[in-house]
């Protein structure tokens, strides 16, 4: 073997093989292949014993547009849109304040933001039932203050589901926005103020446009999951506010119609890909989606 070839083997080929092959094998076997598989079975159907029949059919994709499902889609989309909007409204100021704080404050805010997530999401969401239920603390407080005469129905409404979603997904909006604001070159703002811009104007014309990629990234990290977080709907929605995720879940756990569930999943993937493509077209980078 020539000197160059031997050197390449020792210094390039073997190290690459040793470090990268575990992850490559894992990703192919447990991500690429399974996804390919559900793509395939989305075109299949089931027999009487719920076994998959491997014959090509577009029936599942037709079934997706069944009128009964369309209302669910509409409702699910509404919930996701509301969730995203509220996350932006609540999360942006928080991210902004965090980015302009001292390093100590910043890390403290980050720690306390993420600390709740070490506790079980299910139990935390359940805790909300005690707060917004008919006999819950909010109603109690409002009645005591004389604002209302009879308890409000908050639990098991669409609003409750949105509340639960925002509660669970808020950090995923805050982190990307914070990263972008943090990286913002302060001298832009200094230049703006030097040229006479008042703080509000400077925010609207400089900060906001330049941090749009962060908002977009946060939107993707919130909107997509909110279509599928069926457990939020289960706990706070009372079975009335079904998401696309609930439908998929039913196919696998109750209806045993896996091909249809697969088709719906492909639909979700398509929505995701569209959003990500739009995101990248407007200049967003994939790294920010990692939230790291």
């Amino acid at each position: 073997m020539s000197i160059q070839k031997k050197y390449n083997l020792r210094n390039k080929i073997i190290p690459v093989a040793v470090t990268v092959s575990p992850v490559a094998v894992w990703l192919v076997l447990l991500i690429a292949v399974p996804l390919l598989y559900i793509f395939i079975i989305s075109f299949c159907s089931t027999d009487a014993e719920h076994n998959i029949v491997f014959s090509f059919s577009l029936a599942n994709y037709a079934k997706m547009f069944d009128p009964s499902l369309l209302t669910i889609y509409a409702n699910s989309l509404a919930i996701s849109v509301l969730t995203t909007v509220f996350c932006i409204l609540v999360g942006y100021p928080f991210a902004y304040i965090m980015a302009f704080s001292s390093p100590f404050k910043k890390s403290m805010m980050m720690v306390f933001l993420l600390l709740p997530f070490w506790t079980n999401s299910i139990i935390r969401l359940y805790g909300w039932r005690t707060i917004i239920g008919r006999n819950g603390y909010i109603n109690l407080a409002l009645e005591k203050l004389g604002v209302i005469s009879s308890p409000l129905t908050m639990l098991y409404t669409r609003g409750a589901v949105v509340l639960g979603m925002v509660y669970t997904l808020l950090p995923f909006m805050i982190l990307p926005i914070h990263t972008v604001i943090d990286k913002l070159d302060r001298s832009y703002l200094e230049a703006a103020s030097d040229l006479g811009a008042k703080p509000v104007k400077s925010f609207l014309h400089i900060t906001l446009p330049l941090t749009m990629p962060g908002i977009f990234a946060g939107t993707i990290m919130v909107f997509i999951p909110s279509l599928a977080y069926f457990f939020v709907s289960d706990i706070l929605g009372g079975g009335k506010n079904q998401l696309i995720g609930n439908v998929i879940e039913r196919q696998f756990k109750e209806a045993f119609n896996w091909p249809f569930g697969a088709a719906l999943s492909i639909l979700l993937i398509l929505i995701t890909l569209l959003l990500v493509k739009a995101y990248m077209k407007t200049g967003g980078s994939l790294e920010e989606l990692g939230g790291v």
């Binding site: 000197i3 160059q4 031997k6 050197y7 020792r10």
Partner: protein
């Protein structure tokens, strides 16, 4: 006198980075125990050469041997060569003691022996008491000395240094230059030192290898390189010089008469024929001026300015074609008056005459010998 062995030999080495031919037919011999500098501008290939000797780069062609063994046959961790890196490369997670002891630990020496060697070497580089400090707590000069200690403690036969003083301020750099030289003499290790600073190379080296664009221009002692540059590049790169492109018009007893664009000049040394294109080089301190013409010289110009830099006075004289000539005179001695016309001359023996590339093209056109054309194209073309 006992002949000094060659400890490193580089033969016909070529290196390509993709399509870039960065090292061109390099031949070099480094003697045991010497302090050799590889000097050249950025991008000339000096660091690449060093890394090939160290084993971090692989030559595309040719042979490099260290102590008689071919370099590619062993991995970097298997050799008796140590490197001091430009960025020092101190291990940030280890204190000074563990950094310096690293090589000894790899050799699996007993703990007590390691302790003694490390403390001895730290004393040698004047860093006693620094064992527990971490790299982030050290100044540039201290980091540099730890890097040197870490390399030397292993008693390598050859020490490679890649511009180690680049990040230090001037005063510290000058101090470290002397310390390194002293260290080298004391330990007797062969130092191969890469730098772009010609003053540094001249101060420290036993010999200097001047490189330019992947080619070794000249290898010799500092005084040789200064007084007898073999090419225009070397003459220009080392110290200051006045360079004239000229044609040889006559020879008389070893003294050549040459015609430059602006007039005639004299020089000595070398073997040239009439009508050969050459480059004459004279150092500013050897260049003289006179109010009246000097025989053999036809260079005449106006004194544009005199600059006083303390020990010397530098005068700039502009010839008729705009060519600037530098004359340096020791402070206190007579120097040309600003604005006046002067005639420039020198002792012909002080001028070095060098072949130029144009000479090669000229000779190729004159003597169409395809055989020699192919050979020359292979070795020096490009």
């Amino acid at each position: 006198m006992p002949t000094v062995k060659n400890i490193v030999e580089v033969r016909h080495v070529n290196k390509y980075f993709g399509k870039n031919h960065v090292i061109k037919d390099l031949n070099m011999e480094i003697k045991e125990g010497e302090f050799l500098s590889i000097l050249g501008p950025s991008g000339c290939g000096k660091t690449t050469t060093l890394r090939m000797i160290a084993g971090f780069e692989q030559q595309s062609d040719g042979e490099i041997t260290v102590e008689g063994e071919r370099v590619e046959e062993k991995e970097p961790f298997d050799r008796n060569v140590n490197t001091v890196f430009q960025s020092y490369a101190l291990f940030p997670h280890m204190d000074v003691y563990n950094n310096v002891a690293f090589g000894l630990k790899m050799k699996k020496l007993p703990k007590s022996e390691i302790k003694k060697k490390v403390s001895d070497i730290l004393t040698l580089v004047q860093l006693e008491g620094f064992e527990k400090r971490y790299p982030s707590q050290l100044s540039g000069g201290q980091k540099q000395r730890v890097a040197i200690a870490r390399a030397i403690v292993n008693r390598p036969r050859v020490l490679l240094l890649d511009e180690p003083l680049g990040a230090l301020d001037l005063k510290l750099r000058k101090q470290m230059q002397l310390e390194l030289k002293r260290l080298q003499k004391k330990l007797g290790i062969t130092f191969i030192y890469v730098t772009h600073d010609q003053e540094e190379a001249m101060t420290m080296s036993d010999r200097i290898a001047v490189m330019n664009a992947g080619v070794l221009e000249q290898l010799g002692r500092p005084d040789e390189i200064y007084a007898e540059p073999e090419s225009k590049f070397v003459a220009d790169f080392i110290g200051e010089s006045n360079l004239f492109d000229a044609v040889v018009s006559g020879v008389n007893g070893g003294i050549y008469t040459m015609e430059a664009e602006t007039g005639a000049l004299l020089g000595a040394g070398g073997d040239f024929c009439i009508r050969e294109l050459v480059c004459a080089c004279v150092r500013p301190e050897k260049t003289k001026f006179s109010p009246s013409p000097v025989e053999g010289f036809g260079l005449c110009g106006v004194v544009r300015e005199n600059i006083n830099i303390g020990t010397l006075i530098k005068s700039i004289i502009v010839l008729q074609n705009g060519h600037e000539i530098k004359i340096s005179t020791l402070s206190g001695e007579k120097y040309p008056e600003k604005g006046k016309n002067v005639f420039v001359y020198w002792d012909p023996n002080d001028a070095v005459i060098m072949k130029t590339v144009s000479q090669e093209i000229h000779s190729m056109i004159e003597n169409v010998d395809l055989g020699s054309f192919v050979k020359k194209a292979g070795s020096r073309a490009g």
